[in-house]
Amino acid sequence: MKKFSRELAVAGTLIALLLFMAVAAPSFFHPRPLLSLLTREAPVLVLACGVALVILTRQIDISIGSQFAVCSVCAGLMMAAKIPLALVVPATALLGICLGTINGLLVAGLGLPSIVVTLATMVTWREGLRWLRQGQFVTLPENTQWFGLGQESGQVLLVVASLLILAGLAWGCRNLHAGRRLYAVGSDAEAARLAGIEPRTVTFFCFAFMGMLCGMAAIMNVVQSPQVDPKSGTGLELRAIAAVVVGGVSISGGRGTLWGVLAGVLLLACISPALTHLHVAAYWDKAIQGAVILLAVMADGLQNRRRPAGGKEH
């Protein structure tokens, strides 16, 4: 129990918020808007899972918003060219892998700091996309929205898919070699190397995998609307990182679980609609999100301080 105290704290906060909403504004729990909310957050959840993996290995990726936009627009263009969906999905995932590979090569291959590399690729992809598309939307053909299913079944499908990805990754992190290696490299890269794990290989594949998740999240985003906005995904990287940190993944690597990330995504996602239902003006949303991030990181700091000496220096 103590091991997961941080995750339980976030989940407790989330439950407290939901209980408060149940008393103060029961209309918050109407199934339809709630389902739409979860659907909107499905791509964010997938991205946050990827970011969590990257942060677990003690790296960071702030180019995911731009990768997401590139993948979204390319998926939209492929759909508009009447390529069957069964091909578009793997092609978009492959494109994501290619973009992630570039980050991986620069970070793991050349040993450059990940925050600067992904800052550079973030700007490059974003501006390149704006240059090629000139802000034009991609209009999708008739039957592609919600995969050609009805709106409700499409929404359920997206939510279930994102939860499946989360559950699979959470299981893999605990039980697969690859998952344990992420924790090993994130806790202490040198110790991991001495134990026979090549940290650079792990880092490389982590970035490539992040790219693939960007592609999948992009598909989940594209099918939600009849048009693809080339500006989609702006600021998404910071939202995903915020959710991951609120969910208890340590920025210094090697600590955290994906279930905590789920709680973090849901907590941040609920703030804005909760404000609307409580009749607080919506422009307080960003300030409150910032305050939640700061509170979460302060809770982490206090917890670390109470731990006996020898704790990791951030």
């Binding site: 925050i115 800052l119 700007v123 490059t124 003006a281 422009y283 302060m298």
Partner: protein, 340 residues
């Protein structure tokens, strides 16, 4: 190769391969290229235009240098600029402060915002990336909440707009402010114990602690300084555009960090120079302005900025990579000899 020549080459190497020198070449190449392409790029008017437009980013990049030198980062500067601009407008229009007092108020708001970062990073020992990610949201959110997302402050007095739009002694009026701040930061970082201890903290926080340096106080000082200068940048921004809005300074944090890293400051802290940062700002500003004069779309400038950053980083990583490969070759040779 005889040893005397080798020694001379080694002595010469730092001067030629030093980051700032390469960057100076890049700036020069950019200048001559755009001068040959664009018709009025090299004119005095345009040079002053570049200067005028890069003052705010330049100010932020200047103070971002000590932040990154200590091994930290500040993502909240763009949001803080927005918050300071909104407070400035509020002080002047709604509270009826005289414009000078409103300006001082904006600096105070900047100091307070920087102080929040300083407290969390210095005293609470929290990671700067996440703290400033939180304040990035918080400051922008407060600015939006104060203006309800739509309120814009305009109609500032003409003598205030002079600061951002007119000339003073032939130079753009905000240039002296920038030059003074640049000189101040340079002296602070290169000629005082304060700057030296910043480097020490970035090089090894633990080590500086054992050496008796006031690490928490030094970190706090760096972030408060950043806040104050961001407040100054907010005042200049407002006077240049003649309006203050909640979205002022969006994306400035990325520009400033790019300029600093391009200028050769290590993102891990410990090494870096103020003149490198100035060159980084110049390289970005000339690139942006020159491409407009060469009738290229704005987006190309953004893409090239990203590519330039990657190239600059790779260039600094290559010697290290080559050294590692040489070591490996030598080790393999030794192994072979032993096997024989």
């Amino acid at each position: 190769m005889n040893s005397a020549l080798k020694g001379r080459l080694i002595a010469l190497r730092p001067a030629i391969f030093r980051h700032e020198f390469i960057l100076l070449l890049v700036v020069a190449v950019e200048w001559f290229y755009f001068n040959s392409v664009g018709s009025r790029f090299g004119s005095i008017d345009n040079t002053f235009d570049i200067l005028r437009h890069s003052v705010e980013i330049g100010l932020i990049a200047l103070v971002m240098t000590p932040v990154i030198l200590t091994g930290g980062i500040d993502l909240s500067v763009g949001s803080l600029l927005g918050l300071c601009a909104v407070f400035f407008g509020k002080f002047w229009r709604d509270f009826g402060f005289p414009i000078e007092l409103a300006g001082l108020g904006a600096l105070a708001v900047g100091a307070a915002g920087g102080g929040l970062n300083a407290w969390l990073i210095g005293s609470m020992r929290l990671p700067p990336l996440i703290v400033t990610l939180g304040t990035f949201s918080l400051f922008r959110g407060l600015a939006e909440a104060m203006t309800h997302g739509v309120d814009t402050f305009t109609n500032f007095p003409a003598r205030f707009l002079h600061l951002g739009q007119e000339r003073f002694l032939g130079l753009p009026a905000q240039a002296p402010v920038f030059l003074f701040t640049a000189l101040f930061t340079w002296v602070l970082l290169h000629k005082t114990t304060w700057g030296r201890s910043c480097r020490a903290v970035g090089f090894s926080r633990e080590g500086s602690l054992y050496a008796g340096l006031p690490v928490a106080r030094r970190l706090a000082g760096v972030y408060v300084l950043t806040g104050v200068v961001v407040g100054l940048a907010a005042v200049i921004y407002t006077s240049r555009l003649g309006q203050a809005k909640a979205d002022a300074g969006t994306g400035y944090e990325l520009f400033a960090i790019t300029a600093v890293v391009l200028g050769g400051t290590s993102i891990f802290g410990g090494t870096g120079t103020v003149h490198g940062t100035l060159l980084g700002v110049a390289a970005l500003a000339i690139l942006n302005n020159g491409l407009v004069h060469a009738r290229q779309p704005r987006e190309v400038a953004g893409m090239l900025t990203g590519l330039l950053l990657i190239l600059a980083l790779s260039a600094s990583a290559l010697p290290r990579l080559a050294g590692r490969m040489l070591d490996r070759l030598k080790a393999a040779k030794k192994q072979n000899q032993r096997n024989l």
